[in-house]
Symmetry: C2
């Protein structure tokens, strides 16, 4: 072989690797000095249509292409003034942890090695942080949608009333139905489709004026569906809706689910992390009563993509939903397979990467309290921005600020606000995203960014006012 997939010259490779690392540290330590986002020139865009490389050009040349064509045109979410959708800002230590995880490259179905113990430990910590009992179960997955899908799959298994693993939903049984507010994130419809329930089986319940689920309307819907011969099985509560950051009354939902023998799943994509802060914990009270929670660590824990978690209170139900590996495997005590494949038995994925490591190292290095402070700071920033909006005659809030999301607009048409948003992005000032609330276009600022400072929000308000005046 003229070329192997290990470096033929480790010294040259080492030099290149250190150059890459220096470049990345330079990149990370100077993010705020660059525009929050910038459009790609046409020639860059066109360059990504080159043919399949048959022969290699070498590692160094490949890296040059990265630095010239990829690095200068990222999404922007590591920037201090990126608040679009709900993305994360990336903790630098976790970047290194990702490199360590990739170098070690363990197979995380389970197996008998230290990385599996790291994941067990991380799950125990995350369960404790959610207020779940010590004997509950969990698994790390790629993202929030999958974290929620797994929760719903356990709910379906637990509450169907028939052997859903064997029969599926094709046995002519009563229709299984799930419930969540009309502000539930789009994942719920996707999950209902994937799981074979059908989108028509997801009942979207009306919201109150604070964008929270109307529990009385939920009660009526469940009663009506039962009367019609259907089988309600699960209620989704949202801790932090994607549009406005609203938090459902989780205690009321937990009580309702207990009374009605329904599974209570909480989508806590980012909001579940509020429970890490003593100050914010009351906002998500009741989350600890859920049967399952899905949440991300790459949003409000600020870790690099991708890592999310499903927690399930009843470990046996969790395993019973997914497990295929024979139980004797778990009792094997010798060799690489000792302990079985516990993580494969808690979800869909068999081969999985070592995403647990970045959580483990970040918690060890910085402690929960540092994350709690950063989360609290983002909530304070949201309140500050809301106050600045309210103090201006030219701006108005379009939704209550429950947590870390601010929806506001320049007092002008939807078209003007949409154009303000685009210009703020195009000029590289900041990256908010947009949404439509009761027919009105909102500039939406979702703060899950540990790099943002108060002056960044001043810069945003100034830009909205300036561009608004340009256009109005």
């Amino acid at each position: 072989m003229t070329q192997t997939l290990d470096p033929s010259d480790w010294n040259a490779f080492r030099a290149l690797a250190h150059e890459m690392l220096d470049d990345m540290l330079e990149h990370l330590s100077t993010i705020g000095e660059r525009p929050a986002w910038r459009p790609m020139p046409d020639e860059i865009r066109a360059s990504f249509r080159e043919p399949l490389p048959i022969s290699g050009e070498g590692a160094e040349a490949a890296y040059r292409e990265f630095t010239e064509r990829v690095l200068p045109y990222p999404n922007g979410n590591t920037h201090p003034r990126f608040w679009g959708w709900v993305q994360g800002s990336g903790v630098p230590l976790a970047v290194l942890a990702d490199m360590l995880a990739s170098a070690l490259n363990p197979h995380m179905a389970g197996f008998n090695h230290a990385p599996a113990l790291v994941e067990h430990q991380v799950i125990a910590w995350l369960a404790q942080l959610a207020g779940f009992p010590a004997d509950s179960s969990g698994v790390l997955v790629l993202g929030g949608t999958m974290a929620n899908v797994l929760g719903l799959a356990v709910a379906r298994h637990a509450k169907a009333g028939f052997d859903v693993r064997h029969e599926g939903l094709q046995g002519g049984q009563p229709r299984l139905l799930l419930y969540g507010s009309a502000e539930t994130h789009g994942w719920a419809v996707k999950a209902a489709e994937l799981l074979g329930l059908g989108s028509s089986s997801f009942r979207q319940i009306a919201i109150d004026h604070e964008y929270r689920i109307d529990v009385d309307a939920l009660r009526d819907a469940v009663a009506r569906d039962r009367a019609d011969g259907h089988r309600p099985f699960c209620v989704i509560g949202t801790a932090g809706t994607v549009n406005t950051g609203a938090i459902d009354d989780l205690r009321a939902l937990a009580r309702f689910c207990r009374e009605e023998s329904l599974w209570f799943h909480v989508d806590g994509a980012f909001g579940a992390l509020a429970n890490w802060s003593e100050e914010l914990r009351p906002l998500v009270a009741g989350i600890e009563e859920a049967d399952s929670i899905g949440f991300d660590l790459h949003k409000w824990m600020y870790l690099p993509f991708d890592v999310a978690c499903t927690l399930v209170r009843d470990a046996e139900l969790h395993r019973a939903t997914f497990a295929h590996s024979p139980s004797y495997l778990a009792e094997t005590t010798r060799g690489v397979i000792a302990g079985g494949l516990p993580f494969a038995d808690r979800g869909i994925d068999l081969t999985r990467g070592f995403r647990a490591l970045k959580i483990w190292m970040a918690l060890k290095a910085y402690g929960v309290e540092t994350f709690a402070r950063a989360i609290e700071e983002n909530v304070r920033q949201a309140r500050y921005l809301a106050a600045r909006v309210e103090a201006s005659d030219e701006l108005e809030l379009l939704a209550p600020v429950s947590l870390n999301i601010v929806c506001f607009r320049y007092k002008a048409s939807n078209e003007i606000n949409e154009e303000i948003l685009i210009r703020i992005q195009e000029r590289g000032i900041a990256v908010p995203s947009g949404t439509v609330l009761h027919g009105r276009y909102a500039i939406r600022v979702a703060i899950t960014n540990h790099r943002s400072r108060i002056e960044d929000f001043d810069a945003l308000v100034d830009a909205v006012l300036t561009i608004g005046r340009e256009l109005a």
Copy 2:
């Protein structure tokens, strides 16, 4: 704040980061000098039960814990003599690419940035390598199970004969059934369960003496199920079974599916990569006729975990199965959301990491031909090992060697062979895994390892003979 999630001292952080990188390069360049695996001491095992860190100990201390407690006890799959299950060996350049991806940290739902163009380009290359048309579609996912689940979801959408997204499988329609050989990997049952089809809807068809699906038996089963009023919708062909590496007659399956208007999905977890080599391509002939393929890049492309791919011939059907984002988004031409969220619209995940980068850089640096040579080398090694087994009076092959998997045993009881396997692992000589074929315990060597050399297989054979004689 006393501590932020960005380093307070970038110089100290830089020094630590370079130390980590040096350690990892040292680790990667000396793998073969260490045991293939070693058991963890009890005190290490117990150390992973420490309480949640409330206060941080700093990045350096966290890294020391990694080097002392995690790094010495990996799974072993980067070692030249690891051939357990089907795992990958990890290309060092891809470790660096993972670090770059984590530092850049783009959100890969889509969006208007260079990383999205990298993923589009990688998918086009992977489609070409599978023999798929240029206008086909694909998406990168966490692993092979999910890659296959997505293929089946498209199949279900395409062939159900009713609006499965809206109605689900709860509408009292004819039962949807899917088919694969009895040697189909366990993912298929998990997928049938997740999708609400039920495990009873997966028909396991008999195999021939080469562990391939019996196409006549398949034909009979489909006819019988149709006669019973059910609705067959999909056939799974396997390119490389997990037990023996057998490859179904994909051409015959493609023909059958066309005749019967069934969806043809190929599980090519590792075997699909044989198509990258001109020499091996005839073995998987017919794969290019599939409607969808699921395969891993972290197995036989040797990339670090986790990255896999779903390819779908009909791009419109792919999008129609999953898309929720309004089509006007794709036509937006300005700002960060221009181009919409094409990857979110091809699967379940919304927030996704930049796993495309390691494929892109590895193909650019080394070219397809280097990967093809490494894959061919693994197949040659399997044939070499089989020949050594056949040349010994004390050993016997337990299955034909179709590709890169060798199942053999010491001519003694199952118990003795199981003990041989465990001792080989415990002594750190090598890591094969085990399986049971027709009631006989086999030492199973699955070669998806770019570090293995011929002498590594000699070492294995010597160890089996030595330990076998000890025990017999």
